[in-house]
């Protein structure tokens, strides 16, 4: 295992695949939510390809989102956020519940007072993936494409990875006990194929490719939107200097990350593991010292 935090330009190499010429380039997703139409084809294509079971039949009332969040049985999740435009400059509550009853809207029929944001969320395939760092069995591993995959046949269901993920992506399947998440279609990548979700996306909201190229594309798209006056547009997970060293799957958002249910400033949960060990060591030494002192004292 290599470094646990900070900028890391060759995560694949760091994971032991040799220098940058010796392994495939890092692959990832760029999800441009500004062109997402919420068709959920990505959710279905993912489940079909990966044989992921259904996640239960629940009308949630959270707009058109009935799968609620990423989890062991939902590896792509389309969030629907209904939001009055008047509050878009505020941090804003994610407006995916019912609007306040009886608010006066009748006089202004025909106004553009609502926005409906859609965004297909997925595992971020972090540069510094805490899930992988804490996995005791080696079930979670870094692939030659720089992605993070969990191997169901090795997972022992300990669940350490679940709280380790700063995004709340990976989870245990209740009736099975093991952990599951997006594999970025590792089997398809090995065959030089596009992951199922990106393949199914009709509007190229989900783009798959070499991460370096996707970052370039995202920068261009962001500039294009800013030029058109869409000032709220921003990239999320693009920055290699952020708390997880940048995401392998990053996003273009049209509002604050919280609006989409994403943490604003995620930090790899194992960032401080080194200093934790130092502290643990010091504490242990102190405890040992106290114990010795106690015995010494008794003798005395």
């Amino acid at each position: 295992m290599g470094r646990l935090s900070g900028r890391l330009d060759d995560v694949t190499g760091d994971a032991g695949y040799g220098s940058s010429g010796e392994h495939p380039p890092r692959m990832g997703f760029f999800t441009d939510t500004s062109v997402c139409i919420g068709c959920k084809a990505c959710e279905v294509a993912c489940k079909e390809w990966n044989s992921v079971p259904d996640d239960g039949y629940l009308l949630t009332g959270m707009s058109y989102d009935n799968t609620q969040s990423l989890g062991a049985s939902t590896w792509r999740h389309v969030a629907f956020v209904e939001k009055p435009t008047s509050t878009s400059v505020d941090l804003g509550m994610p407006g995916n519940g019912p609007p306040s009853q009886g608010q006066d809207q009748e006089a202004e029929s025909g106004d553009d007072s609502i926005r409906w944001l859609m965004s297909s969320d997925v595992c971020k395939h972090c540069t510094h993936a805490a899930c992988l760092d804490v996995c005791p069995t080696g079930s979670l591993f870094r692939t030659e494409f720089g992605t993070v995959v969990v191997q169901a046949d090795i997972c022992n269901g300990c669940g350490y990875c679940v709280p380790a993920c700063p995004y709340g992506v990976i989870d245990l399947r209740e009736d099975d006990g093991r952990a599951f998440k997006c594999t970025l279609c590792y089997d398809r990548l090995k065959e030089d194929q596009t992951p199922a979700c990106a393949m199914a996306c009709p509007t190229e909201s989900i783009q798959f490719g070499e991460l370096s190229e996707l970052r370039q594309r995202a920068d261009n798209r962001l500039a294009e939107l800013h030029e058109k006056g869409v000032d709220a547009a921003r990239l999320y997970g693009r920055d290699p200097e952020d708390g997880v060293g940048g995401d392998g799957a990053f996003f273009l958002l049209l509002d604050e990350p919280e609006v989409y249910g994403l943490p604003p400033d995620p930090v790899v949960t194992t960032r401080d593991i080194g200093s934790i060990w130092k502290h643990v060591g010091a504490a242990a030494a102190a405890v040992a010292g106290l114990g010795v002192a106690a015995f010494v004292g008794r003798r005395r």
């Binding site: 259904d54 039949y57 029929s109 025909g110 009709p202």
Partner: protein, 886 residues
């Protein structure tokens, strides 16, 4: 699609989805394109990326609105008032594309002196017969048309009930699918557009009262919003720019559906947006191969290629049959060649000149056999047997109870489907079993359920929304006894023919003489490609034809559908071509095959100015190459290749010879786009705003004419209509689809991956309606009409807006219609609420009506019928209540 057919000559989308990327402005109205056509919507997204303005006019804020630059909420069913005001805006502010309008539309044509507008007659056009509830349209003709009663001639005489003639006249509208209706002569023209009887002035008067203020009162759209749309469309039209309009079943499923499309056709004609890149009208069809099922029809009144179905008494011989069209100007003038080739395709060597090419073998019409008339006949006992294939009328058709009671009155019913759908199980668990209106033991219908193959289990073609045939191969054989439609009907034919073998009865000849030999594939199934080749047609040497211009009327050619001629050109299945667009130019002509003749944009002669040069460099598409003496460009020219722009036909020219060098609409008898339709429609030459059959508000434009005067009712006790402006049914409902489900749900409610995405029936209401009726988010609501009551979970959302019409507020209830009693999560069917009141041209129901909504679940069992009965009583729906409305 007579709306487009009568306007331009062919009843298909004038453009294709890919070309939308070239639009400068896209108006999506009557369509939730992002949700219902997500794959095609990618080109709208691309257009927007290139800088186009995308406008969505819709009662609800949908996934389409979310991506649009502008969403304009409109009261469901009021589209013509809005479009009419846009037309008025364009006309009265001189914003039309004058050179295009004068040269390429019938704006200059003069109308008969006898014609009277709705403005003169309080909401009806001249020729209206209030007794029959239908029009006699001879006064709508062009002046100078020598035999004014052309439409009358085309009407099969009918000795039935008083109104059946009117109904039947409309049945003929479908034939405008490929070839506009015939006018007897080219009209007198005034190219200054000043003559008071020229179409331009007639239009101007007809729409003069369609003002932004009227739009506010009828549609609930503010003048500022109206202005934004008008400015976007007009500033993005003209020689340098182009705008497109997309619609879907949000326009077609109305009692004035055809006229809504007509209104869009007028607008696009005036703005000069037809036949040009980035322009056009994109008709988004309801689902896979609906275009195909009108081209090679599942409709009762047309034959393949929009050839009309002959009538029992009018058409005694082939000569009688083609007389109305033969010799007319334009390509429809070759109808005899298309008809004879069809008969040769079906009856082969048995079809000879001596026996009229077996014309007598064709079935004959005796009246209106549309789907709702058929259901009525089942209820009344006249229709005893029913094949239901690829449909689920117990859930998917209007007035589910009427549908199910009709099914229960049959002798036999065949249902072919992949799932055990409600239409096959109504006898044991339908809503009427619960209420006691039907008792299983007393239902005499013998039901045969036959498993059907899925699209992955059979080879064949889809003809999708842009007239494109796309071939798919068989991935796996269908499991068990499942069969493809092709194999099923082939086998049925084989068995019928075996039973009749050796018969000398004349009546059996049509079946015995059918050409019924097809090649088999490796699995022993009928080879779909051999059927496609038969449809394409063959010449005297037995080789596949490459174009419908090769068809002859002497029996030397055979062709199963003349507009598909060329799909098997060079003995190659052209529909199977899959060269990706990034390996081709922008037209991508090698992806699938498009009728007619692989033309991607129809009427593309209009992309050049009258002199044959492109209107502009930016919108260059097809133009005249004077050096080569031919039309050329990016697409297959939709014109006679060597006809120069300055060609003027002789006065007595017929067929294609009569098409002038400046006549882009080659299927029209006068070569022009019809802003005014002198013949071919059952409810008027110009679209007029009428209220839906059930409406909470009076018609402010015509207080004495509330509804479409030619509305086709289905009069049967199980199909009552709510009285308009009733306090008992104060709200508007509109039904629609979700991306996550497919039509009546047989293919989606049964799948876990789709069910989890939209698990159960719900209704969508605004916060104000929720407060007014005490509805709670995620609680239950009961929705009631005079047909039935259903329950659904409540979603309270700002996406549904209250609309302010004048001093009145209108609330709308949104009802996704996919659910039924079967499937993973059963629920009530919203279509049980919908009444059958039909467009007189195409016999399609209105998906908008009035209702009441109350918190809580609906009554169970017999209490449900009593509950609905009480509503009917309070609304005054009884024996005579229907008389109250015009």
């Amino acid at each position: 699609m007579p709306g487009l057919g009568t306007s331009f000559g062919r009843g298909g989308a004038t453009t294709n989805l890919m070309d939308l990327q070239n639009s400068d402005c896209i108006l999506i109205q009557g369509s939730n394109m992002a949700e219902a056509h997500p794959v095609g919507f990618q080109w709208v997204v691309e257009a927007k990326r290139r800088g186009a303005t995308v406008i969505h006019v819709d009662p609800r804020f949908t996934r389409t609105s979310a991506l649009a630059d502008l969403h304009v909420p409109i009261r469901a069913g009021s589209d013509i008032a809005f479009l009419g005001a846009l037309i008025n805006h364009v006309l009265s502010n001189d914003l039309y594309f004058r050179e295009y309008v004068v040269a390429y539309t019938n704006a200059a044509a003069l109308v008969e002196e006898d014609f009277r507008d709705t403005e003169d007659l309080g909401g009806v056009f001249s020729g209206y017969d209030p007794e029959k509830g239908s029009y006699e349209p001879s006064s709508w003709q062009y002046a100078g048309a020598t035999e004014a009663a052309a439409a009358g001639q085309r009407d099969p005489g009918q000795s039935g009930t008083p109104d059946s003639a009117g109904r039947h006249r409309s049945a003929r509208s479908e034939t405008s699918g490929s070839g506009g209706p015939a006018v007897e002569a080219k009209p007198e023209r005034d190219e200054t557009l000043q003559h008071p009887r020229c179409v331009f002035q007639v239009l101007k008067r007809h729409y003069a009262r369609y003002t932004p203020e009227m739009v506010q009162e009828v549609c609930g759209i503010s003048p500022e919003q109206f202005r934004k749309v008008a400015d976007a469309l007009t500033s993005n039209s003209g020689p340098e720019r182009s705008s497109a309009i997309c619609y879907a079943v949000g326009w077609t499923h109305h009692s004035v559906g055809v006229q809504k499309i007509r209104a869009a056709a007028i607008l696009q004609g005036l703005l000069g947006n037809i036949g040009r890149p980035g322009g056009g009208i994109m008709a988004l069809r309801g689902h896979a191969s609906i275009q195909g099922s009108t081209d090679i029809p599942t409709l009762f009144n047309i034959l393949p290629g929009y050839i009309p179905m002959p009538h029992a008494h009018e058409h005694e011989s082939l000569d009688d049959f083609v007389a109305e069209d033969a010799g007319k100007t334009g390509y429809w003038g070759n109808m005899r060649a298309y008809a004879v080739s069809l008969l040769k395709s079906w009856f082969g060597d048995a079809a000879t000149e001596e026996n009229d090419y077996c014309f007598d073998y064709l079935p004959r019409l005796t009246g209106n056999h549309g789907t709702y008339e058929t259901v009525k006949a089942q209820l009344e006992g006249g229709c005893k047997g029913y094949f239901v294939v690829g449909e689920n009328p117990a859930v998917g058709s209007a007035n589910g109870k009427m549908q199910r009671l009709a099914l229960a009155n049959l002798d036999w019913l065949v249902v072919r489907d992949m799932q055990m759908i409600e239409t096959a199980t109504f006898w044991k668990d339908g809503p009427e079993i619960e209420t006691g209106e039907l008792v299983t033991e007393e239902i005499g219908t013998e039901i045969f359920f036959l498993p059907a193959a899925a699209h992955t289990e059979k080879a064949g073609s889809f003809t999708q929304t842009q007239r494109m045939l796309q071939w798919r191969d068989k991935a796996v054989r269908p499991p068990g006894d499942s069969m493809s439609e092709l194999d099923f009907y082939y086998e049925l034919g084989e068995r019928l023919r075996a039973k009749l073998a050796g018969s000398t009865d004349e009546m059996d000849r049509p079946l015995l003489d059918l050409t019924w030999e097809y090649e088999k594939d490796d699995d022993g199934d009928v080879d779909g490609e051999s059927v496609l080749r038969e449809i394409n047609g063959t010449g005297p040497d037995g080789a596949a034809l490459s174009s419908y211009t090769e068809l002859k009327d002497d029996g030397s050619t055979a062709c199963g559908c003349w507009i598909y001629c060329g799909v098997y050109a060079d003995e190659v299945n052209q529909a199977r071509r899959r060269k990706p667009h990034w390996e081709q130019d922008q037209v991508a002509a090698e992806w699938g095959w498009v009728w007619p003749a692989n033309r991607r944009i129809l009427y593309n002669r209009a992309s050049a100015a009258p002199d044959g040069t492109p209107w502009s460099e930016r919108k260059k598409y097809v133009w005249w190459d004077a050096d080569e003496g031919t039309w050329t460009g990016l697409d297959v020219p939709d014109f006679i290749p060597d006809r120069p722009p300055d060609y003027v036909p002789d006065e007595d020219a017929q067929g294609p010879d009569a098409i002038g060098g400046k006549d882009p609409f080659i299927m029209q008898t006068d070569g022009k786009a019809w802003l005014y339709v002198p013949v071919g429609l059952a409810d008027g030459p110009m679209p007029t705003h009428y209220e839906p059959p059930e409406s909470p508000v009076p018609n402010p434009l015509y207080p004495d004419q509330q509804r479409n005067p030619a509305l086709e009712g289905i009069e049967t006790p199980t199909n009552p209509m709510n009285p308009s402006f009733s306090d008992v049914f104060p709200y508007v409902f509109t039904s629609y689809r979700l991306t996550e489900h497919h039509t009546a749900g047989g293919m989606s409610r049964t799948l876990p991956y789709l069910t989890e995405l939209q698990p159960e029936p719900f209704c969508e209401v605004s916060p104000t309606l929720a407060q007014e009726r005490g509805l709670e988010h995620l609680g239950w609501a009961t929705i009631v009409t005079s047909r039935s009551a259903i329950e659904a979970r409540v979603i309270v959302t700002d996406r549904i807006r209250s609309l302010r019409l004048g001093d009145r507020r209108v609330e709308q209830v949104g009802l996704p219609y996919h659910w039924g009693r079967n499937g993973i999560i059963p629920g009530d069917s919203p279509n049980d609420l919908v009444g059958a009141a039909l467009d007189p041209n195409v016999h399609i129901q209105d998906k908008v009506g009035t209702c009441d909504i109350r918190p809580g679940r609906r009554p169970r069992g017999r209490a449900l019928t009593a509950y609905v009965e009480d509503y009917r009583r309070r609304a005054g729906i009884g024996a005579e209540s229907e008389k109250e409305e015009g």
